[in-house]
Symmetry: C2
Subunit: 474 residues, 2 copies
């Protein structure tokens, strides 16, 4: 304990008394991520407000052989941004690294400190008619978004964070805490290895992001959503292709919801307005948005031209359509996770596959799960437009608490199938952290893990982040 006190004392001397938290009650707000589960109690929570102070912290950590765990908005879902057990990590909160916000409306770029929240960036950008188009349910920090390479619901139209990232300031996790500026506010720039890419989606394991420049887009002048009730989930894919053909770049989101997931949302989330007479076998939420002098009535016309013929006659694939110019229909989609959590224990699987495989996978897995993981019921929803699926298994709490082995077995059924049989991904957009590093070990070939470990070690010889992408034995 003496050593612990000494370490805390020297941290206070380094960063300033007010910005080093060591009491459990003061640190409580930094111990939960977006999943709500608690991380360990850190040695300290440190809240520097400059890259220079972070550099000093890294040098201190190198001297004292302490691991640094960077935390952005604590909205991650893989426990990558909370301290480990054992009380030995320094949790580096970026919540005070928020001063710099520069919007360049002519260049359509924003340069912001890593601790700035997405909502704050978007409020600043909105003053110029611009926004950062990566859409998420949460309100993460920009640094965290880069560290997770978040995707979200509009990837189809705007890409992921990586494809909107122009530049990064970072502090290396090395003995010197070297500060590097990688890139600039430039749409085109190719000058050798693009080292900032090694921090994208890396969860803080390869260094600490302190400032980023991202591309902005013009806020849409017109936007509408349609919730389309389908008589059969398999109709969702041909409809996607029809919509891409009819709408071009107007199509900004194409989300799917299974019947059972919608039932859970309407049963458990208060205030949701059900737009249909009954909950259909499947529904897709289609968002149209357009810059330029277009209006919603043009969008309505365009949608009707595609959907109208699909509603006619016996066995018509489209049962009903609700439209909205606000966020009412999105509220249904966003309510699904809450509905599932209220219904039971949720085994979340953030997977991706080829778009054409999604519906076949659903049928296939429904069979496998009911046979090999009794008690778990698939409640899937997600980003059908990009092949991303939140394939969640719900264990009804009426059955009691599921045992750990059963949960793991169920998850392995899903991951084995998506990776080995469908060539898909066991981590579409949540990234890798303590929660899923075991699957990384299982599914990523050893030659890639070994190489990743060597690259990571070169980037960050001082321990940074919760996991390592190297082989465990290295």
């Amino acid at each position: 304990m003496a050593e612990k006190n000494e370490l805390q004392h020297s941290l206070r001397a380094l960063i300033g008394e007010s910005y080093v938290l060591t009491e459990e009650q003061d640190m409580a707000g930094y111990r939960h991520d977006g999943r709500g589960a608690a991380g360990g109690v850190p040695l300290a929570v440190v809240r520097p407000d400059s890259a220079q102070a972070i550099s000093a912290l890294v040098r201190w950590a190198a001297d004292h052989d302490v691991r640094i765990v960077p935390q952005g908005g604590a909205t991650g879902l893989v426990a990558g941004g909370v301290a480990g057990e054992g009380g030995e990590d320094v949790l580096l909160s970026l919540d005070r690294l928020t001063r710099y916000i520069e919007i360049d409306p002519v260049n359509r770029t924003a340069t912001v400190d890593a601790g700035v929240r997405l909502s704050v960036l978007n409020a600043a950008a909105a003053e110029h008619g611009l926004f950062f188009p990566i859409d998420l349910g949460a309100d993460p920090t920009i640094g965290g978004m880069v560290a997770a390479n978040t995707g979200g619901a509009r990837l189809l139209r705007y890409g992921d964070v990586r494809s909107n990232l122009m530049a990064m300031d970072m502090v290396r996790a090395n003995a010197d805490g070297t500060c590097l500026s990688l890139g600039g506010p430039l749409w085109k720039n190719n000058v050798g290895l693009d080292l900032k890419q090694l921090l994208v989606g890396a969860g803080g394991t390869t260094g600490i992001i302190t400032r980023v420049t991202v591309a902005l887009q013009r806020l849409p002048d017109a936007r509408m959503t349609a919730l389309v009730a389908l008589n059969d989930p398999h109709k969702a894919l041909p409809l996607l292709l029809d919509m891409e053909k009819a709408l071009g770049a107007w199509l900004s989101a194409y989300e799917g919801m299974s019947q059972i997931a919608m039932i859970a949302a309407f049963a458990h989330v208060p205030g949701l307005r059900m737009p249909f007479a009954e909950i259909p076998p499947y529904a897709v939420l289609i968002e149209l948005s357009a810059g330029g002098a277009f209006d919603e009535s043009m969008m309505e016309d365009r949608l009707a031209a595609v959907l109208g013929p699909m509603m006619e006659g016996e066995g018509a694939p489209v049962l009903d359509v609700a439209t909205d110019q606000h966020d009412g229909l999105w509220a249904i989609r966003h309510a699904v996770p809450e509905g599932l959590r209220a219904k039971g224990y949720v085994v979340g699987c953030d997977i991706a596959m080829r778009r054409g495989d999604v519906m076949r996978f659903r049928d296939d897995l429904a069979d496998r799960i009911s046979r090999d993981a009794p008690g778990f019921v698939p409640h899937d929803f997600g980003h059908i437009g990009d092949g991303g699926l939140h394939y969640n298994l719900v264990w009804d709490i009426a059955q009691g608490v599921p045992d750990f082995a059963a949960v793991e077995a169920a998850r392995h059924i899903v991951f084995d199938a998506v990776v080995q049989d469908y060539g898909g991904s066991f981590s579409a957009e949540h990234g890798i952290g303590p929660r899923n590093i075991a699957y990384y070990r299982k599914y990523v070939p050893e030659a890639i893990q070994a190489l990743a470990g060597r690259i990571e070690k070169n980037m960050a010889p001082v321990a940074s982040g919760r996991v390592s992408f190297g082989l465990m034995e290295e």
Copy 2:
């Protein structure tokens, strides 16, 4: 020479007699890149047709301490894909690695061998109404496009190669010639460090790309171009912002041409049709394209709504507008490089800066060049929509041949200004090779070069590619 013959002999035994070229006349076709300048004579040109054969070649190169220089379509502009002087490099041509072409029209992806040309990929994609939207004057191979991270004229709308890249098969330049598959045909996939990023824009220095998966886009259903004659170059930027506002995602290219560059094109390139009564002080080529049920008449209307008011009255910024639904106006833009080469010795500077700085930079540099680099005359054109500028200095051949020191001094004026005074890039989209590695040494901070060198060495312990991004002394 005995050793040389032995090496060539063992290469033939490894790859097959027919696919190892060692006679100067047979190798002549592999010695020129897109700039037309000759590289050195290689030890041999080797043309394997599989990743396995490339792996064997790498093991051979490791055993014999020979450098491998990968060559795609030989359309690069920085000499990265031609052999060095000295006769010691093996030139690895990918021109037979072309068998695998798979278009997945539902997923909107293409998986192709690295030696497949852009035109071949696009012909295969067009059968499904799709295309790979990176537009270039040349017809490179896909592997080369990744290795250069090409940008082109439609970056504004579709991004660069990196943001359209999903997966890569590669052969490591290590003693084992390890074959790795990095990623899959997935729109979302985040499983640790994304190592394929280290081969993007790296010119073959970090390994050999053998197959890639890229995202495809739907071919536009409607497309038109407008050439807008401006009374003043400074009007190009406000017009860009107006167009972005009015056209949204319909705006797919926004290219600028200086008056003197246009004069050179019309003077020296036969068959160009001049659409205006006289060549204006500046012109922008605007491309509109749209997927979905839109047509060119809607585009004409939209354009007219913006441009009409700008043509009225004394001192109106828009002097004239020509429109086209084919590629006639693009032909003018694409003729500019040829026009400049016909006019004199061209010192090409592939630079980028913030969009808002472009016109100020042009004015500034025109002064600096006329003062400090007499005899050189700026003839710029380029991608105003993304801040990319082909800032070319032309030395009239009537003045005789410029001396090397004068050329270098002129180029340094441009690069010093763009990097040091404007925070821009000395290599926007051509990448780094022997032609410009000296500028990399000058402008990239040592801490970044040192780190890049270590990462490169980890990726490729066996010499691959023409340059190294590490510090020279390492």
